[in-house]
């Protein structure tokens, strides 16, 4: 699946988008996998309460299933308007 990062998540991870092969069943499992990769991932995902997740461009939750999902995006709370 594609994993996208926006705002300071993009800056901390160091890239806007990457292709990830995973067997993670939920967003939380994917976060655990990514956090185990490198310090920059662990640091970026350290405080989930400061993060939001979208699955296929719809806001979702960290305990949501990844079944059939093609695009996961992580970002801080939005500041539009």
């Amino acid at each position: 699946m594609d994993v996208l990062y926006f705002a300071w998540m993009r800056e901390r991870i160091g890239l806007p988008k990457e292709r990830v092969e995973t067997d993670a069943a939920t967003v939380a499992e994917l976060v655990t996998e990514l956090s185990a990769r490198e310090d920059r991932y662990a640091a970026a995902f350290a405080d989930l309460s400061a993060l939001r997740v979208a699955l296929d461009q719809e806001l979702s939750d960290f305990d949501a299933s990844l079944a059939g999902v093609r695009e996961v995006a992580f970002f801080p709370p939005m500041t539009g308007g």
Binding site: F6, L59, P76, M78, T79, G80, G81
Partner: protein, 147 residues
């Protein structure tokens, strides 16, 4: 319904006139316009707005459709810029038309409250002392509870 997510400037006056001209059946028209302010008092060089192409349009469309389901509305307009903006630049606008002023006002406030916290935009302020992502405010999240 017109939803535009764009990098270029928009003309508040031309958009207001075009919106009112399109919808003459409704007696009440409300617009809201957001302008880049220099909250750091003279230190703000520019603002950079990042967004999530694809999701942004979907999220705004969903918010606008929800507003049309909740209030008796005519036309709805949402324009939101991304990219580089300087103090005084207009960031975004919404417009609502309705038979009654209360509906037009409430729907415009609803659009604004949801655009603030549910449309995937992120603002970064570049001041003379550095660059910083604008933090989401608790009051913006709290504003959603009234709807």
């Amino acid at each position: 319904m017109r939803i535009a997510v764009q990098e270029q400037e928009f003309d508040l006056g031309a958009e207001s006139n075009a919106f009112a001209d399109r919808d003459t059946a409704n007696g009440a028209i409300v617009t809201f316009t957001g302008v880049v302010r220099d909250l750091a008092k003279g230190n703000l060089d520019r603002m950079e707005i990042e967004h999530y192409p694809g999701m942004t349009e979907r999220a705004i469309t969903k918010i606008a459709e929800e507003a049309r389901a909740r209030w008796s509305l005519g036309d709805v307009l949402v324009i939101h810029r991304y990219g580089r903006l300087v103090p005084g630049d207009r960031i975004m606008m919404v417009a609502t038309a309705a038979p009654h002023r209360k509906d037009a006002f409430e729907a415009a406030e609803y659009l604004m409250d949801y655009l603030k916290s549910r449309a995937p935009f992120w603002k970064k302020e570049i001041t003379t002392s550095g660059a910083e992502w604008v933090a989401a405010k608790d009051e913006d999240e709290d504003a959603l509870t009234r709807w």
